[in-house]
C-alpha cells in the first residue's frame, strides 16, 4: 500500500497552513501595536513585552499551574483506583458497560454540566459553604469534568498488562502491596503519564470553569488571554498565547521525556 503516500500530502499542507501560519502571525503581532489584525496605522513596538513585567501575569500563570496540579493529583487519586478495580475485579462481568457508564456523563454538554454544578452549589443547603468563587470549587468541578481522561489511559494499560508477572510474583511469596508497588504500578506508568497530560492541558488553560464557578475571583491564564482579546488587544493577547503554549509544551515535553527515560531503562534492564 506504499503507493498511497500521496494521500498524506493534503493533510500535511493543511497542518502547516493551520499551525505554522497562525504561529508566525502571532509572533509578528507581539512586536506590533495594531487594531486587531488590521495593520492600518500599526507600528512596531515592544509594549507587549514590557507588559509582561506586570505581576498579575505571573500570578495568573502560577495560579493556572497550581490549579492544574491539584486537579491532576485528585484525578489520579480517584481515577487510578477506579481503573485498577475495574481492570482487576473478578466480580464485574461486563467491563464494557462500566466503561460506557464512565463516558456517558461526557455526552452531556460540558458547559451545561458546569452550570449545573453552579446551581447545585447555590442551593439552600450548600450555599452557606460559600463554595462559589473559591479555588477549591474550581478544582472540584475541573476534577469531575476531566476524570475520565485519567481513568481511560490507565485502564487501557492495565488491561494490556501481562498478568502472569503478577501471578509469578505472588507465587514467589511477595505480598500483594509489594507486587503492586514493584510490578503493577511501574508497568502502568505509561497510562498514568498519558492521563496526567490529558488532564493537565485543559485544566491549566481552560477559562470556562474559572469564569463561571470562580465568578471572576479565580484568574487563570485562560481568563487573562480571554480578557485581553476581548479588549481587541491582539498584540499582548498573542504574546500571552505563545507564552502559555511554550510553558505547556515544556511541561508536556518533560513528562514525555521522563516516560521515554523510564522505557529505555526498562529495555536496558531486560537486556542486562
Amino acid at each position: 500500500m506504499k503507493r498511497f503516500k500521496g494521500l498524506a500530502v493534503p493533510y500535511f499542507v493543511w497542518l502547516i497552513l493551520l499551525v505554522v501560519v497562525p504561529t508566525i502571525t502571532m509572533i509578528v503581532l507581539t512586536f506590533l501595536q495594531s487594531n486587531g489584525t488590521n495593520l492600518d496605522g500599526a507600528y512596531w513596538s515592544l509594549d507587549s513585552y514590557r507588559r509582561l513585567a506586570d505581576p498579575s501575569i505571573l500570578k495568573a500563570l502560577w495560579n493556572s499551574l497550581v490549579i492544574a496540579f491539584w486537579t491532576v493529583l485528585f484525578c489520579f487519586l480517584l481515577g487510578y483506583p477506579v481503573a485498577y478495580f475495574l481492570s482487576f475485579s473478578t466480580h464485574i462481568k461486563n467491563k464494557q458497560l462500566f466503561l460506557l457508564l464512565l463516558i456517558l456523563p461526557m455526552w452531556c454538554n460540558s458547559m451545561l454540566r458546569i452550570v449545573s454544578w453552579l446551581r447545585f452549589f447555590s442551593t439552600d443547603w450548600l450555599s452557606p459553604l460559600n463554595l462559589v468563587g473559591t479555588n477549591g470549587a474550581v478544582i472540584f468541578v475541573t476534577v469531575t469534568t476531566y476524570l475520565p481522561f485519567m481513568v481511560f489511559p490507565i485502564f487501557t494499560v492495565l488491561e494490556k498488562m501481562d498478568r502472569s508477572l503478577i501471578e509469578a510474583s505472588s507465587d514467589l511469596g511477595v505480598p500483594a502491596w509489594k507486587t503492586f508497588l514493584k510490578i503493577t504500578f511501574p508497568l502502568s506508568l505509561e497510562g498514568v503519564s498519558s492521563g496526567v497530560i490529558m488532564v493537565f492541558l485543559p485544566a491549566a488553560t481552560g477559562f470556562a470553569i474559572s469564569e463561571t464557578i470562580g465568578q471572576g475571583k479565580v484568574r487563570l491564564m485562560g481568563n487573562l488571554i480571554q480578557a485581553v482579546f476581548e479588549k481587541n488587544n491582539y498584540n499582548f493577547g498573542s504574546l500571552l498565547s505563545l507564552l502559555t503554549s511554550i510553558v505547556i509544551l515544556l511541561l508536556v515535553g518533560a513528562v514525555a521525556g521522563i516516560r521515554e527515560m523510564h522505557k529505555r531503562r526498562k529495555v536496558h534492564h531486560v537486556n542486562a
Binding site: L86, L101, S110, S238
Partner: protein, 279 residues
C-alpha cells in the same frame, strides 16, 4: 484462618465498590441535575433546583426560544458537517501516513499531535487569526465557515488516532490478493481495505461528533455574524441571565439519542461477532 481471610476479602470488596460508587456519583450529579431540570417547571426560578412540578414545557422551549433554537441548529449543522468531513479526511490521511517511510512518518506523527497538545484557547485564537487573514478574500468567513474549519482542525487528529492503529493491523496480503484478482489499486483500497476498517471509522466519527458538539472554547473564538453554537449559547445566556431551561431539555434529549446510538452500534457489532463465530 480461612474465614478471617474471607471476611477481610469481603470488607475490601465492599470498600472498593463504595469508592467506585462515590466516584461515579461525583460524575453523575450534573447529569442527574440536567435531566431533573429538563422536566422541572421551576427550572428558571431564582431559588436553584427547587421543584416546580413536572412539565414538558422545557422541551417545547427548544423550538420556541429563538436564540436557543438557532444555536441548536447551528451546533448540529457544524458538528454533522465537521464529523463527515473530518472522518473522510482523517481516513485518507491515515492511509497516506501509513504508506510513509519511517522518517516522514515520525515528522507526520509529531505534526498530528500538535492540535491535540496545543491548548484549546490557543487553537481557537490561531484559527481566528487565520480567518482574519482570509477575511479580505472571503468577507463572510466568520460564522459557519470559520467554526467548521476549526472543528475539522481539531477532529481530524482524533479520527487518525482511531483509524491508524487498525490500519496497521490489517493484513497487507488482502490488498495484494485483491489486485491479483484483477482489482485496480484504488478499487482494492475502496473495496477491501476501507470496509475492513468500518468499526474504527465509526468510532472515529463518534469521537469527532462528541468533541465537536461539546466544544466551547474553540467555538468561542470562531463564532461570529450571529452564528454560534450550543455551548456558547449556554455560556453567554447564563452570564446575561436570559438562560432558557430548554437547554436542559435539548441536552437530555441528545444524551438519550447518543446512548441509544452507541447501544445499537455495540449490539450490532456483538451480533456480527456471534454470527461470524457460528460460520
Amino acid at each position: 484462618m480461612l474465614t478471617r481471610n474471607h471476611v477481610k476479602e469481603g470488607i475490601l470488596t465492599t470498600l472498593r465498590f463504595l469508592f467506585g460508587a462515590i466516584v461515579f456519583s461525583l460524575m453523575y450529579v450534573p447529569v442527574v441535575i440536567i435531566i431533573y431540570q429538563s422536566f422541572n417547571a421551576g427550572a428558571n426560578s431564582i431559588s436553584p433546583l427547587s421543584w416546580g412540578g413536572f412539565t414538558w414545557e422545557n422541551y417545547a422551549a427548544m423550538f420556541t426560544n429563538r436564540q436557543l433554537y438557532t444555536s441548536i441548529l447551528d451546533s448540529l449543522l457544524v458538528s454533522l458537517w465537521a464529523t463527515a468531513i473530518s472522518t473522510v479526511f482523517g481516513l485518507f490521511a491515515s492511509i497516506g501516513i501509513h504508506a510513509l517511510n519511517k522518517k516522514a512518518r515520525k515528522a507526520m506523527d509529531f505534526l498530528n499531535e500538535i492540535p491535540m497538545l496545543n491548548s484549546e484557547i490557543v487553537t481557537g485564537i490561531s484559527i481566528m487569526l487565520v480567518c482574519s487573514l482570509l477575511k479580505p478574500l472571503f468577507p463572510n468567513i466568520f460564522g459557519f465557515w470559520s467554526m467548521l474549519l476549526a472543528h475539522i482542525f481539531f477532529c481530524v487528529p482524533y479520527v487518525i488516532l482511531m483509524v491508524l492503529p487498525k490500519l496497521e493491523q490489517t493484513d497487507e496480503s488482502l490488498f495484494e490478493a485483491a489486485q491479483d484478482l484483477g482489482c485496480s489499486p484504488w478499487k482494492s483500497l475502496m473495496k477491501v481495505i476501507i470496509p475492513s476498517l468500518t468499526t474504527a471509522i465509526l468510532t472515529g466519527a463518534l469521537v469527532a461528533f462528541t468533541l465537536s458538539i461539546d466544544d466551547f472554547v474553540i467555538s468561542f473564538y470562531t463564532q461570529g455574524n450571529g452564528f454560534s453554537n450550543f455551548s456558547n449559547y449556554v455560556y453567554s445566556s447564563y452570564t446575561k441571565k436570559n438562560f432558557s431551561a430548554g437547554a436542559y431539555a435539548f441536552n437530555a434529549l441528545l444524551t438519550f439519542v447518543t446512548l441509544g446510538l452507541v447501544l445499537t452500534i455495540s449490539l450490532m457489532s456483538s451480533h456480527k461477532k456471534t454470527k461470524k463465530a457460528k460460520v
